[in-house]
Every structure is written in C-alpha cells, then in structure tokens.
C-alpha cells in the first residue's frame, strides 16, 4: 500500500490503493457530491485536499445543473488534458450516495485511456464495498468545520 493513500472510511481504501497502483495516478480524491472527502492519495497538504475537494464538488454541481437544464441525465465523466498532466473527474452511485473520483495523472506515465479503464474497476469495487442500508448523514453547517477537521486529521495521519 502506498504510504500516501489514506481513507476516512476504510471500505474505500483497498479499491483506491488498487486504482492508484494500476492507473499510475499521481493524485486521487474520493469524495461525496457535497465535497466530503472519503479518501485521498498523493496529497501532502490538507489545504490542497480542501481546495481540490471543494473545486471538484463545484464542478460536479455545476455540470449536474447544466445537464438538468438541458434535460439530460447527469454527465458521467469530465476530462481535461494539458501538455504534461491530465485530470479526470467522474461520478457514480453507491449505497453511500453519489460519489465522485478526481484523478490527476502525468501523461508520461499514464493516459486518459488507462485512467478510464481502471476507473471503471474502481467504481465497481467501491459500489461493491460501500456499506449497505446506511442512510447518508446530512452534513450540517454547525458540524461542518469539526467534521472537516476530523477528516483531514485522519487523511494526514494526525
């Protein structure tokens, strides 16, 4: 297991570890559609996790709304590719609710095709591993900061 892969919810850890190894992704976040991080790999600073999660959740929300206005089902995946780095953001349903995966990969060690291929496996593994019959807890504003701090402490082993 990569020492930099950590999970707030343990059932996400093995699927994420496998994905990081197989897809050669540099950074990965598994989060809920509200931006709550369930697991991360490759991040070294809490502030980076916070901003990446917030931005990813915002993209999911804005593309979902765009799809809704176009009367389409929500978009499955989004990919951006630069000269050296690409990122891939996709959502899928589990018993834990809608989850999103944000993967950042370097083009000299991976590719969109590889990331997409192993993302399918990751989504299937997370669906299979997600706790059944659990109603996702509402994140209340009053608890948000404490939950965020707890999550970041877990993700960075504090």
């Amino acid at each position: 297991m990569s020492p930099s892969t950590r999970a707030v919810e343990n059932w996400t850890l093995q699927p994420l570890t496998d994905f990081v190894r197989e897809a050669s992704a540099r950074l990965v976040l598994v989060l809920t559609s509200s931006g709550q991080v369930l697991a991360q790999s490759g991040f070294s600073r809490a502030v980076d996790v916070m901003s990446a999660a917030a931005l990813a959740a915002a993209i999911v929300a804005s593309t979902s709304e765009l799809a809704r206005q176009l009367r389409q089902p929500p978009f499955g995946a989004l990919s951006h590719q630069g000269p050296k780095t690409g990122f891939f953001l996709a959502t899928f349903m589990t018993d834990r609710g809608t989850l999103a995966v944000l993967a950042v990969y370097d083009l000299d060690v991976s590719s969109l095709g590889i990331v997409q291929l192993f993302y399918e496996q990751l989504a299937a593994d997370l669906k299979a591993a997600s706790p059944k019959g659990v109603v996702p807890k509402q994140v209340l504003a009053a608890d948000f900061e404490r939950e965020l701090t707890d999550s970041l402490n877990t993700l960075f082993g504090r």
């Binding site: 690409g86 000299d108 590719s111 095709g113």
Partner: protein, 115 residues
C-alpha cells in the same frame, strides 16, 4: 477508415482491428469480435507505445514502425500512423498462430493510407 480496418480483419486469425489515439489511449474506430474489450486493448497499446517511443528515443534507434506483442492466447500487432508516427496507432488483435507478415502488411497499408 472502416475499409482499412475491414482489410485487416479479413486476414485469417485476426480477431479485431482498431485505430487508437496514441496520446490518450482512446478508441477512434474499431472492428472487434465479441469478447474483446476495445477500451482495454486501446489503453494497453497506447501505454506501451508511449513507453516504447521514449525508450527508443533514449536508445537512439528512432521511432518504431511496427511492434508485435506475443501472449499465450493471442497477439497484439501495432503500427504507429500519422504525423511523426505519434498520432494514431493501427492495432490488430490476433490469434497466436496468425500470419504475422500478412497482418503487418495490412497494418502498414492502413497506416500509409492514413487509416
């Protein structure tokens, strides 16, 4: 494009032919027999092609014009096509005992025709 793939798949023992974007490993066009997962083959071919290109550049041998990966239950045959041989890959998935020379010829023809 589909005609080029058609000519490749007509060779006895070829189970499928594909055009793959070399940069991102996505399928551009495919003619595959049932049971072959095109996205996996495309991702594998592009990943290998990228690593091979860098290794060959480092070794000073220039770019590859054809490569053949033999596995227990099949073979992958690839010819890079397009600008500086870096844009597209013409890929054949074949039985282990396929006539390699014939497939190579059809792959090269497809690549020359710009697939």
């Amino acid at each position: 494009m589909s005609k080029a793939l058609d000519l490749i798949t007509r060779v006895r023992g070829v189970r499928g032919a594909m055009l793959v974007s070399a940069e991102d490993g996505l399928v551009v066009a495919e003619q595959l027999m049932e049971g072959i997962k095109g996205s996996a083959v495309a991702a594998l071919a592009a990943s290998l092609a990228g690593r091979l290109r860098r290794a060959m550049e480092a070794a000073g041998t220039g770019t590859s014009v054809f490569w053949h990966l033999q596995a227990e239950q099949g073979a992958l045959l690839v010819v890079p096509s397009g600008e500086a041989s870096g844009n597209l890959l013409v890929v054949a998935v074949a039985e282990p005992d396929v006539n390699i020379g014939l497939v190579r010829l059809e792959l090269l023809r497809a690549a020359e025709a710009g697939a």
